[in-house]
Amino acid sequence: MVKQTGTDLVKRGMAEMQKGGVIMDVINAEQAKIAEEAGAVAVMALERVPSDIRAAGGVARMADPTIVEEVQNAVSIPVMAKCRIGHIVEARVLEAMGVDYIDESEVLTPADEVYHLYKRDYTVPFVCGARDIGEATRRIAEGASMIRTKGEPGTGNIVEAVRHMRMMQSQINEVVNMSVDEIMTYAKNTGSPFEVLLNIKENGKLPVVNFAAGGVATPSDAALMMQLGADGVFVGSGIFKSDNPEKFARAIVEATTHYEDYALIAKLSKDLGTAMKGIEISTLEQKDRMQERGW
């Protein structure tokens, strides 16, 4: 019997299994175990969470493989890791290490200011950030098996993730309601590959799952993103920058599952301690906006 690895179905299917779940940023084995225990569907192994990357400044790169390995050995849920946009070798290194999913991420300093990775060349699946249908469909055409909103990472401010999710949902609706002869011009105007738009029109949704990321700081934030149509949620700095990570992690997982149960979310939100402090987006200078990275 033939055995085929790295097919679209296998790569996209992996992301389908994560639906309704929460993927948490962790920087060591201890945090990874807390995340798994709280019910995370995957962890993202990093050297620093986005808010610390923001604070540290300088060039942010792929994590030290020691950290990735430490996290891989600590948990049985999937382990993701980030590589710089366009950094072929960081991606290949993470693939060689057996990372389950790679995030070609704007949180790290881009290695290529023109080209993203050609992700179809890899056996490992990729997730990429997007702010609108153009970015999402270009990444999908390059081979991304999962999309997430960019939001504004490391700010603890949900406003940009909301903007991006609303933008994508309304553009998906536009495409679905268009007649086919309008789609080519829409493709030209939004920089979206035509074939991917046709697929969206046919199926009423992106051909891959679409998670929310970039600014989720509370259980209500996670539930909000689910209500806006996210398939699941990434939480970066929100958990381990809060006062009580165990409790916070559990509360965010439950709020994501039961995003329409408001009495439950009220209960989950009680006595959680302080959430991460957060940054008002208008105080960020243009050069500090990570969402502008990616092309």
Partner: protein, 196 residues
């Protein structure tokens, strides 16, 4: 019409609903315990078994699910769902819902890069059933009451014990609905046996 639920705590719920829709059954997306009352059969979808178990405990699903199985109501588990059904899990002290006499090993083929597609010969279904294995478990051993339905490279990947059906692959990700049809037939059979 018979009612079949899909446990919707986490995972690929939508795909199972789609696969069942072809069968003229009423489908219930199960998020609350009291929804189990109306069901004739239940699907445990693929996803992350540790996450699902945590949510099963949080929402008081544990005892009601065991009770559901005890009443002989059919259950179909794929991948993580099969792990929930096994009465022994390699490297883990306690099983989850434990309704089938089988021992499973999680992530038995390796990490995501080792995930694969193939074609399987499944007893009672066909020799051309698509098998999508994603960080999949294997069924290492089964008890006497368990019928092995499919093997891949010498490992058991699908099994049935009376009203319980488990497979380590994801029929819900393909357009081939024969595994779901097989399960729906099991549910119809159980319902008519109950009436008789």
């Amino acid at each position: 019409m018979i009612n079949i639920g899909v446990l919707a705590l986490q995972g690929a719920v939508r795909e199972h609903v789609k696969a069942l829709e072809a069968n003229d059954v009423n489908i219930v997306i199960v998020k609350k315990v009291d929804q189990l009352q109306e069901l004739d059969g239940l699907v445990f979808p693929g996803g992350e078994s540790t996450t699902m178990r945590r949510l099963i405990n949080n929402y008081g699903f544990y005892e009601p699910l065991k009770e559901f199985a005890k009443r002989g109501k059919p259950i179909f588990g794929t991948c993580a769902g099969a792990i929930l059904m096994a009465n022994e899990i390699v490297g883990q002290a306690d099983p989850h819902i434990a309704v089938m006499d089988m021992k499973v090993e999680r992530n038995a083929f390796g990490r995501q890069r080792e995930s694969f597609e193939t074609t399987l010969n499944v007893k009672g279904i066909g020799d051309d059933v698509p098998g999508v294995f994603i960080r999949a478990p294997i069924i290492q051993a089964v008890g006497e009451a368990v019928d092995v339905l499919a093997e891949f490279e010498g490992e058991i990947v699908a099994a049935q014990q009376g009203p319980f059906l488990a497979c380590s692959y994801h029929p819900e990700l393909t357009d081939d609905n024969r595994m779901h049809q097989y399960f729906v037939d099991m549910v119809r059979h159980a319902v008519s046996a109950n009436l008789a």
